[in-house]
C-alpha cells in the first residue's frame, strides 16, 4: 500500500517572509538595495524562489552586481518621469567628470555612493545651456525636490538632512546606460570627453616623452 501526503502544502517550499512587501515595492518600480533592510535581506536569501514566483507572474527579477534587485516586465514607468530622472543624472555625472581634476583622488565614480550633494550647489541651473535642457523636461529649481522624491521612490537616492542627498547602488543602472551609449558603435555623433582631446602645449609633450 502506498501512503501519500494529501495535505495541500505537501512538497511546496514556504513563501518568503517579506513576499508581500517586496512584491509591492518592486511593482512600484523600486530598486531594492541594502538600504531597504529586511526586504533586501529576504530577497538576497531567497533570490531563486523570488525569481520563480515573479516569473510565474510575468516578471523577471534582475540582480545587479552592485548589490540591488529590480523588476523587468510589462507596465513600464511613464517615459516623461524617466526622462527627468535621466537628464538630472546626466548633468550631475557631467559635472562630476568636469570637476574631478580638482579632487585629490582625481576620480568620481569610485566614491559616488559616499558623496553627498547639496541642493543649493547642484549644477543643473548654473549655466543657460543646462537650464535650457532642464526646461525641456519641465524642471526648474522649484521642482527639483519632486524629482528627488521620484528618484527616492525608485530607490536611486536617499534624502538627507539639510537639503542634501546621496546616491544608492541602483544609480548604477544609469551609469550602465551611459556605458552602453558610449559603446554603441552605431552612434555617429562623436563624444567630447575623450582624454585624447586635452593636449598640452608642445613643449610639455616633448618633456613628457623624453
Amino acid at each position: 500500500m502506498v501512503m501519500t501526503d494529501q495535505s495541500p502544502d505537501a512538497g511546496l517550499p514556504a513563501l518568503p517572509e517579506r513576499l508581500a512587501s517586496v512584491f509591492r515595492a518592486l511593482r512600484n518600480g523600486r530598486h531594492i538595495s541594502r538600504n531597504d533592510g529586511l526586504d533586501f535581506l529576504d530577497l538576497e536569501r531567497h533570490t531563486a524562489l523570488y525569481e520563480h514566483l515573479l516569473f510565474g507572474l510575468g516578471y523577471t527579477l534582475r540582480s545587479h552586481n552592485q548589490g540591488f534587485f529590480y523588476l523587468e516586465g510589462t507596465g513600464a514607468l511613464r517615459s516623461d518621469r524617466m526622462r527627468k530622472a535621466l537628464l538630472f543624472l546626466l548633468i550631475l555625472f557631467q559635472d562630476l567628470e568636469e570637476g574631478k581634476l580638482k579632487r585629490e583622488d582625481r576620480a568620481w565614480e569610485k566614491s559616488l555612493l559616499r558623496t553627498t550633494f547639496k541642493l543649493s550647489e547642484l549644477p543643473h541651473f548654473q549655466t543657460p545651456q543646462r537650464r535650457s535642457l532642464m526646461a525641456q523636461v519641465d524642471v526648474d529649481e522649484s521642482k527639483v525636490s519632486d524629482l528627488l522624491g521620484s528618484l527616492k521612490q525608485l530607490g536611486v537616492v536617499r534624502l538627507l538632512s539639510d537639503e542634501q542627498f546621496g546616491f544608492l547602488p541602483p544609480v548604477y543602472r544609469f551609469i550602465d546606460l551611459c556605458m552602453r551609449y558610449a559603446d554603441d558603435a552605431n552612434w555617429t555623433t562623436p563624444g567630447t570627453a575623450d582624454l585624447a582631446e586635452d593636449r598640452p602645449a608642445p613643449e610639455e609633450e616633448v618633456e613628457a616623452d623624453s
Binding site: L86, L177, C178, L195
Partner: protein, 413 residues
Amino acid sequence: MPRNPQEFVRFVAKHYRLVVAMCRENQRFTSEAEIEAYARAHLEVGASPAVLVGRMKSLGVVSQTTSEWTPPPFLGRFLAEVEQRHTLASPGVVRGWVEKLSDLANNLSALSANGVPTSADAQLELGAVLDEVADTISAIALTVTGNCDRIGDEVGRYRAEEDARRVRFRLKRLISLHTDYLEPLLRLIDISGEFYRVSEQVVAACDRLAAYAMPGIDNPVSPQAAAVLRHVVWLRRGTLRQAQEAHRELGPLCEAAIRESTIARGVNRALEAIGSGDWERLDLDRQLVVVSAPDGSLLNDRGVVAYLLAARSYRDVPPPPLGADEPDEMDLPWTAASVREELEKKGAVDDVFEWICERVGRDRPDTPAALLHDLIDAAPECVSVVGADVQQYPFTHIDVESRVWRWKGHGHD
C-alpha cells in the same frame, strides 16, 4: 691621459645646463667651431667659447669618436641617474633580450648536458656562456626596472600636477604606459611568460653544473654556475615584484580613468541627443525599463472588472424633470395570451384572423399574422381550418391571402 675627476665634476657642476643639453639632445660636433657655436648660447657674457671648449676637451667632457666630438656615453647615463630620468624601453626591446637569453639557455643546456666538461677549452666556453647569461639577465632586469621607475615618476608627476589641462594629458600618458608598456611587459616576465620559462632552463642547467663542485677538484665552472643560479633567481624575483608593484600602483588608476572616460562619452552623447530634441535616440523604453504596476484589483473576469469600473464611475444625478403636459396613456401590446383570453370569453369565432385584425389594426399584417401563429401553437385543439377556399384580407399597403381559421372554445363543442 689620466684625468682629474674632481676637476671633471666641478666643470660639470659649473656648466650643468650646457652639459645636460648636449647629453639629452645627443649632440655630435664635427669641429671645435661647432662646439663653440653651440656653447655660446649657454655662456655668460664675456666668457670665451674657445677656452671653454679647450677645457671640455682636456677634461673629457667631450671626446672624439669616429671623427665626431660628443659627450661620452657614461656622462649621459650618469646625469640621467642623478636626475632620475628613466628611459622607457618598449616591450619589443625586452622581448629581444629574452630571445637572446633563450639562445644562450639552449647553448648552456647543450654544453652542460653531460655535466662539467673535462677539457679546459670547453670549460672556457661554458664560462663565457655563463658570463653572457648573467649579463643578459642583468640587462633585462635593468630595462624592466628602468621602465617601472619611469612609470613611478609619471605617477608621481600626475599626482603632483595641478593644472587641469596637464593633468588630463598626464592621465592619458599613464593610460598609454599601462596599456602599451606595463601590461605587455608583465605578460612577458610573469610566471607564465617566456622570460620565466627561459630562466627556468638556465636555472636547471646551472643547478646541474653546480652539483659538480667538489672540494679539492679544480673546477671553476661549478662555482660560477652556482653564482649565476643565485643571480638569476634573485633578479627574476626582484624584477617581477617591481613590475607587479608598478602595476598595482598604475592599474586601478588607469582602469578608473578609462571607465570614467567611457561614462563621460556616453553622458555627452546622451546630452547631445537631448539637446537636439532627439529623445528617441536614447531608446529609454527598452534601455531603461522600470516596472510600475501599482496595487490594483486582482479580478480576472473582464465583465466584473468592467462592471466595477462602471460602478466606480457612477455619480448620483437627479432624474430629468417631467413636462407640463400629462403623459398619454400607453396601449398595452397584444400577446397570444391576451388574444386567447378574449377568445375564450367569446366562445366561438368563425374567422379568427379577421377578428384579430379588427382589434390589432390593419396597418401592417406582421402583428396579426404572428398572433395567429402563436395562437395555433398555444391552443391547436381550439383552432381549425374552414373549407378549402382562400380569403382576401386587405391591409394598408398590401392584401394577404389566407385560408379561414375558426376558433371554437372548450365549452362550445
